[in-house]
Symmetry: C2
Subunit: 104 residues, 2 copies
Amino acid sequence: MEAVKEALTDQEIDDYRYQAPRWTVVVPPGGEKRLERNFQFPNFIEALDFAIRVGEMAEEENHHPRLVIEWGSVTVSWWTHEVRGLLPNDFQMAAKTDTIFAEF
Amino acid sequence: MEAVKEALTDQEIDDYRYQAPRWTVVVPPGGEKRLERNFQFPNFIEALDFAIRVGEMAEEENHHPRLVIEWGSVTVSWWTHEVRGLLPNDFQMAAKTDTIFAEF
């Protein structure tokens, strides 16, 4: 029997922050705690290409982010809806997103 | 000399609405008037594929939307930053987005 997962506490989140130091913990109005980072690009198509890469990685990992694509910018948010907050895996997904960005 | 373009007035927007009847005119807090529509999909990857198709069409037309991709959902927003509002072309882009969706 699998243990019920619970969202990380604020103290635990602090302990995981080193895995994704450039990400911000945000809570949108009426929303759930999430990790968020904005990535800048010189034009639309590179922003779209980055979002596609992140989306394909997400599909492989079966954990999906929110992606906001604008001209020259992608904002990525990771959280775990099932626990209405963050799990260790969200920090790992954030770190993988950073790795994709580093290749651009 | 090209005429300076000005954003459509509310009256003119009403006249163009028939081109994109399923879209909503919204003004985010501190933002500019835009056309917005949410499209639903059965999973993440189809949402991503739709966003890619819209993004590629946008690049061809050299007019770029805001795309918010979530699990099973894409929200598309069209507006013209240069006029801080809507131009007739935004309605045409919305209609082209509907055409892409109809093929899914």
